[in-house]
Symmetry: C2
Subunit: 403 residues, 2 copies
Amino acid sequence: MVRRGTNFDRVGDFNDAVVLDAIRRSEQLSRVELAEATGLSGQAISNIARRLLDAGLVREAGRLRGAGLGKPRTLLELEPTGRYAAGVHLDPSVVTVVLLDLTGGVVARRPVDQGADDPGVLIDGIAKTIEDVIAESGAPRDRVTGVGIAAPGPIDVERGVVVDPPNLSTWHLVPLRDELRERTGLPVVLDKDVTAAASAERWAGQGGSFLFFYLGTGVGAGLVVEDELVRGSSSNVGEIGHVIVDPEGPLCYCGRRGCVGESSQPRYLVQQAVETGVLAPGIDLDDRSAVDAAFARLCELAVDGPARAIVAALATRIAKVVEDIANLLDLERVVFGGPHWEQLAPVFGDAVRDALTDRFLVRAVHPFEVAGTALGAEVGAIGAASLVLDQTFSPNPSLVGER
Amino acid sequence: MVRRGTNFDRVGDFNDAVVLDAIRRSEQLSRVELAEATGLSGQAISNIARRLLDAGLVREAGRLRGAGLGKPRTLLELEPTGRYAAGVHLDPSVVTVVLLDLTGGVVARRPVDQGADDPGVLIDGIAKTIEDVIAESGAPRDRVTGVGIAAPGPIDVERGVVVDPPNLSTWHLVPLRDELRERTGLPVVLDKDVTAAASAERWAGQGGSFLFFYLGTGVGAGLVVEDELVRGSSSNVGEIGHVIVDPEGPLCYCGRRGCVGESSQPRYLVQQAVETGVLAPGIDLDDRSAVDAAFARLCELAVDGPARAIVAALATRIAKVVEDIANLLDLERVVFGGPHWEQLAPVFGDAVRDALTDRFLVRAVHPFEVAGTALGAEVGAIGAASLVLDQTFSPNPSLVGER
């Protein structure tokens, strides 16, 4: 890949984005502080600030009287209503739509009615729900800059297609991006669910190098390394479901035993609880809602109760995967999230922390932290929308000279 | 991290590097082709080309007469003698020094005499060997821009220190970078051995997203994702030695069984060969040179011989690690290298390929390739020197506005 150079007349957009991003990260900054933070001249900052104010992307937020003798400085901050982005999380068990304002705050949210397995019907429902959340929020529709979709892999980003997700049996080569663009008239960006979740955490302030560990219908890993999202060669990063954590564990559809995805399923944990007498027998393991209810009970019984060993063993299995990824990529942190996280957290978090102590190989240089998401079950949808905000407003070195 | 913007008067260095890098990647380019490739104006290219010619970094390489009616175009190419970089690979079993010219070609190479375990004595030897390779090459010393060191981790790059490498028992917090800078008077950059090796492959033309798998005294992984070296939060990327590939395998010093590092050691493979009757008993497993000789014999016996199963089983264990990393990071390729690679390659390469078939989860989107290094045993030292060339000459977006 030959990098493209910078012709001077092309740098404007890049610098506008640099300044906007600096304001976002600091919440409020004066023009003088912006010049210091970005290395741009005071004159350049004045011009850029004027453009951003005119575009309705930033607003003035009072004055700061410094300790010195200078005149008071006007602070700039993002104008939340300046732009909006919609986010869709396509999870096999629940499809969620959110609308974010320019600061990344959720201004509306709705689940999508899932009557049918037919992808076309579901896409209709997503398009309708997007209109519903825009209407509910009161956002002027022309300030909605696009839609982000967080989908299970594998995906084909060039064609905007969901290839063949393991837990969505009727989805094969569905051209989700174009279908949704057609129905909404908005630009649509498709990315993996775990990448979206990692992006959400990054927008929420998680920096450096970290792993987002998704605990849901499957397990998956989103990655931010050195402050950047890692997507891999085709945006299909994060397929960790077939790492073997227990060679005597349950048989996986891939033909091997003890894959972390299979042995993290509520179905398997409920089965273990029944076999060890923690739950009463008679639960139909093929009945999804029966398994979900039993799993919820199991998680309750794990807090100082008899199911603790089952959840702790799960934590140990997953901790090994986290350990291996942390050592491979020299990470600083794991952030857990996904539909199963909140139920598991009371026991799971500490057990993972215990299992990782002394196992991070670079601990002589820096520590490794275990955290849970602060974004709740919407992290995927929020992340999908944050990818739109990223594309629209973040400075991207690859833009230098390309516009 | 707040990104810094671009003041127009600061872009020169960045664009010079963009043009130099474009010439390097294409070997020869005319000014018109450079303008097309970089997006810079013809006038900007003319000025930059003049500066690069004056600095002795590029030279004119004949004329290209095009198919059209225009005047013949002068081709520009790198001037190999324009700059040099030294590279040091600090492997526990052999320390190698190479000198690269500006094109990345090796112009001189020497092993370092290793009489003593004392780090100070070894650093003296490295400094002397660097002077020896410069003298041997005939390179003017003032064109040697720096020294790169590839060291086993963990390293502390901020302090330039080798922290506590597992296979170098007398090395604890050795300030290698500063000691070597003091002895040579040259800028010194320290990085991990596996990162250096991945950098060498990148300079040799491997692009996209790949894993360099190092087979030596330990195992390790160097990573290039989306054309960029991945270093992690503290440059300690690639610690894969304690991924468990055989829960009934040999006991590792970490207290667990079947870590890939331990079960890839010649000592363990030789032991397996003796136990299965492939090698005659009586080999002293604590005698390093006896083990090395027996390992060489074992590798010979693996080519259509009775040791084939032992090497194939090793390949299967390592293939699982490669599979998991490829799926995690959505990679396109693994490149094997390191001191043990050449001996193992005849059996190992195919066995890894077989074990990975159908295991790469994104294969519906793109294939995954298995390759061996073309750079031989010097890949670490070459890579260390390439890091200097990278720092000196490659366009780095982070330089925009920082100089």
